[in-house]
Amino acid sequence: MTRVAVVVFPGSNCEYDVMSAMAQLGASAELVFHSATTLGDVDGVILPGGFAHGDYLRPGAIARFSPVMTAVSDFAAAGGAVLGVCNGFQVLTEAGLLPGALQKNRGLTFLCQPTTLVVSSTRSVLTRAATPGQELVIPINHFSGAYTCDDETYASLVRHDQIVLRYRDNPNGSRDDIAAVSNEAGNVVGLMPHPERAMSTLLGSADGRVLLEGFLGLGVGAGAGRGGGVGAQ
């Protein structure tokens, strides 16, 4: 069984939702508090959504200094699978584990609504079970979700196939409709939409399953994806 650490900062609020999604997929997940210096014996790490440290200064700016982030960086450098959802994505960009930044939405309001995503790369740990061009209905829930980066970074993202998901109808002003990016190796991914909120048709959509299953290495053929620590052992 796959073991996943779900990192809790003071102010995180989606940790129980991620735990519930992991349980639904048969993974064994544990909450790891931000003051921890080790992650334990895990196959993957998820930074959930919320408002780590109150989003003071700007989202993720303080969380990157939490003790646990050293362990997360080491884990990522060793090729472990790391996923940041929403605020977790913001933390990963602030920590330098992912390129670019998230700025305030184009309309300057918080947005909680369903979005249609288009899978643009399947070489990341998040999308390795999906198919290119596949459309997924997954909600967003953020104030600062407009992805931005400089031209050089953007060219590099394109060159290394790091744009993982795009919005079909850009809700927030993200550059090139980007909803998710990975690092060059594909083992660290951040996305603004919430796949854990799309796990059941009772709640409107089950399209998040294919992403989280991919992250856990479920339904993925041998050799699919790259650098994924999850499910590889």
């Binding site: 003071p10 609020n13 939702d17 508090f33 408002f51 918080f110 909680c112 829930n141």
Partner: protein
């Protein structure tokens, strides 16, 4: 005597400045058998304020039914709690934050959310959902647009960040709220029934620990200066008293989030004997109420309270309404463990009180004294019976008078003589989608939201961290109709209760309990007291008839500006339970070819048409008079039970021909049909609807249902003794209602979707 003594400083000026009347000062002298000092006067001023003591309304609130077998906690605690089954209790509470929001909309609304959440988690419940009924003046006024944007971003900014989904509410515009908007907030939480906590101090020698934020000068006199007096100016915007802004508190959702986690962890470990939030009237309210409930005394060391600013006076420390604070009663042995949990969540914890024996009085009785001291062994700065603050505020039976002009208003009935006019324009003007508001709220956190904002009622799974597993769901609706209440507050309030039950039925939930937020004008106006008393009688009548306990409430008076009272606005929050929630209810999404059926009576008792008095249609035409149809429980109950059963079967995953359901409410049948058409962009053609009365009259207890098998649904309704008629068949791109309305559905849907944003953006 040749030399006159200088007059002693008159205490009258002080008590009046604090908001106490001369009679109230005399009452205090009687309680203490001496003159109160400045500190004691300040304590009585906040605790005996209208906001804290309900001194004008308590007499009437007693008439509301509050008991039922499934009620675990009724009115008087932080929140009411019902047993929802499967070992889970559901806590619910509603509050107003009207005056703070009129002055500082962002912080006023934000701290309203924070306060209601503390009420809920003080019961041991994890807050799972918030709803916000909001009432503003018309949007052609720039200040009202500023208020709407400020209030909505305050709720969004605080609620999203604190991590509790906001699942709906109401948005009402009427000129009567121009200078006095209403910002009500309802919260629901759930708890394993074993974790139920109460705000009671007990155990001599136990500690009272203050948890959370530093105490500052924010919100001093919030309950007395701000919440218990009207705005004094003569005209609209200018009448808002800017000088009252320092009485508005400032919220910090991050502090609250950590406070929630810390408190629930303390309760899970069983470290807490009793717990209460600090809201209106701050530390003096929490200490005196917990002591009074426990029949004990409490010593408070005013110098132990961690302060945000220098030089605060004892009365300021005791009455400050600084946000994000709780008071926990713990045993001394648990102090280290409590500190460890609080350290983890970076929550400040300070022992500020000791539970002490009740004092022996000269007459031999024992009285729990609230003593404010300078150090636990230091000088006593103030000493009053705790129960005199908490329970023995004056009780007023204020004069009541039916408004003299009411008969003339009732006689001006738009049902009689208002011309048909342009029903197209009427209908278009009544269609407003509130998604611009609700998409600013996180409505989905905790993976429970099956039906979110913008539908009849919100429906959520009854699940959350730490709760026993359950297939149940709970539904919540907030309802009000000030247009009705201005005409006939008794009948209108009864109909509002019925409207809540109807909304719950649309998502398959059977109503279990209600809470109320009674927003009225100045109780010193006899007409306002008459409205309040009538409204409470109407609520009691409906609750008795529908077997609904009232498990909590809030009264907000002095909603007036420039001498003009708001229309009476009792807001009803209804809580329902669905026994098995494994599939979503039908919602509004009818399908091409479905039959559209109207379930419920098509005319009022006696065969008369439902009247248009108090309808949105008539109000939009400037007609505010007329009569209402009578609340008639015997006619409503069968319809409610039928609809609830039909929808609950769908939620339980049973096969059903039912494809859509929506209740007829504000705007009448025309609006209900238009909203269903807009949701799907599929039209319907209804031949037999004639006359604007049938299109726009509002009366709860009627439902539009769509079905794939009209014969079967009609047969089931008839078997249940419920009136039913087939209106038409879904299909095409036009909404055609008799000869009066013929609209392109897609165009109408687009107009409806953008109406609110267009109204807010005009400048």
């Amino acid at each position: 005597m040749g030399v006159s003594n200088p007059a002693p400083p008159s205490p009258t000026s002080l008590h009046r400045a604090l908001g106490l009347s001369d009679d109230e000062l005399d009452d205090i002298r009687k309680v203490l058998s001496r003159e109160p000092n400045h500190l004691e006067l300040a304590l009585y001023a906040v605790m005996w304020s209208e906001h804290c003591s309900y001194k004008s309304s308590r007499l009437h609130l007693r008439r509301l039914p509050s008991k039922a077998a499934h009620v675990l906690v009724g009115p008087g605690e932080g929140a009411g709690v019902i047993d929802a089954g499967d070992g889970i209790g559901v806590a619910i509470r509603i509050e107003s934050h009207n005056h703070p929001s009129a002055i500082e909309p962002y912080q006023g609304a934000a701290t309203g959310v924070g306060g209601i959440l503390r009420d809920v988690f003080s019961m041991g419940a994890r807050p799972l959902a918030v709803m916000d009924p909001l009432f503003f003046g018309e949007l052609d006024d720039a200040r009202n647009r500023w208020l709407v944007e400020g209030v909505v971003s305050g709720i969004s900014g605080y609620g999203n960040s604190v991590g509790v989904p906001t699942i709906g509410g109401e948005l009402t515009f009427d000129q009567c709220y121009g200078a006095n908007p209403l910002v009500n907030v309802l919260a629901v939480g759930a708890l394993p029934t074993s974790r139920l906590a109460l705000g009671v101090a007990s155990g001599i020698g136990n500690y009272a620990v203050l948890l959370g934020s530093l105490t500052g000068r924010d919100g001093i006199g919030g309950v007395s200066v701000l919440a218990s007096a009207g705005f004094s100016g003569e005209d609209g915007a200018a009448s808002i008293d800017e000088a009252k802004r320092p009485s508005v508190q400032v919220g910090d959702p991050y502090e609250e989030k950590r406070l929630i986690e810390a408190c629930l962890e303390l309760l899970d470990h069983g470290y807490v004997v009793g717990i209460q939030d600090l809201g209106g009237a701050g530390l003096i309210c929490a200490t005196s109420e917990t002591a009074a409930k426990g029949g004990v005394g409490m010593d408070v060391d005013v110098t132990a309270v961690p302060l945000r600013e220098l030089g605060m006076q004892p009365f300021e420390v005791m009455t400050s309404e600084s946000q994000e604070r709780m008071l926990a009663i713990i045993t001394p042995e648990n102090l280290a463990a409590v500190n460890a949990v609080c350290d983890k969540w970076e929550v400040r914890a300070t022992v500020v009180g000791h539970v002490v024996e009740p004092a022996l009085m000269p007459d031999g009785s024992r009285v729990g004294l609230l003593r404010v001291r300078e150090g636990f062994d230091g000088q006593v700065l103030g000493e009053v019976p705790a129960s005199s603050l908490a329970d023995e505020a004056p009780l007023y039976d204020r004069p009541r008078r039916r408004p003299r002009d009411l008969d003339a208003i009732l006689a001006d009935d738009p049902s009689d003589d208002e011309p048909v006019g342009d029903p197209h324009d009427d209908l278009a003007g009544l269609l407003v989608d509130t998604a611009w508001v609700s998409r600013q709220y996180d409505s989905q956190l905790f993976l429970n939201t099956v039906v979110g904002p913008g539908r009849d009622a919100a429906l959520l799974r009854l699940a959350g961290p730490g709760l026993p597993p359950s297939r149940r769901g709970f539904a919540v609706s907030t309802d009000s109709n000030p247009r009705w209440c201005a005409l006939d507050p008794r009948n209108a309030t009864a109909l509002t209760v019925a409207e809540g039950v109807a909304n719950l039925a649309c998502v398959g939930a059977s109503a279990q309990a209600i809470v109320n937020c009674l927003n009225f004008g100045n109780p010193e106006h006899p007409e306002v007291m008459w409205q309040l008393s009538e409204s409470i009688d109407g609520m009691a009548m409906a609750c008795d008839a529908l077997s609904l306990p009232v498990i909590g409430g809030n009264v907000s008076l002095y909603n007036e500006s420039g001498g003009r009272d708001i229309d009476p606005t009792p807001v009803v929050g209804s809580l329902g339970v669905v026994a098995s929630l494994v599939a979503p209810p039908p919602g509004w999404n009818w399908r091409a070819g479905d039959a559209v059926v109207l379930v419920g009576h098509r005319e009022a008792a006696g065969g008369r048409a439902f009247p248009l008095g108090g309808s949105r249609w008539a109000t939009r035409r400037g007609r505010r008079g007329g009569r209402l149809a009578e609340f008639d429980a015997s006619r409503l109950r069968a319809t409610f039970d039928f609809v609830t059963g039909e929808v609950a079967a769908v939620c339980a995953g049973e096969p059903s021909d039912l494809t859509a359901v929506h209740d007829v409410s504000g705007g009448g049948l025309a609006v209900a049909l238009a909203e269903m058409a807009a949701a799907t962009t599929l039209g319907v053609s209804v031949d037999e609807l004639e006359g604007h009365g049938e299109l726009f009259a509002e009366f709860p207890g009627r439902f539009v249902m769509a079905t794939s098998d009209a014969g079967a649904l009609v047969a089931r309704a008839q078997a249940a003794g419920v009136p039913v008629s087939v209106l038409g068949v879904v299909g095409g791109t036009r909404l055609r209602l008799g000869t009066l309305v013929d609209l392109d559905v897609r165009e109408m849907a687009d107009q409806r979707a953008s109406a609110l944003e267009r109204a807010l953006r005009r400048d």
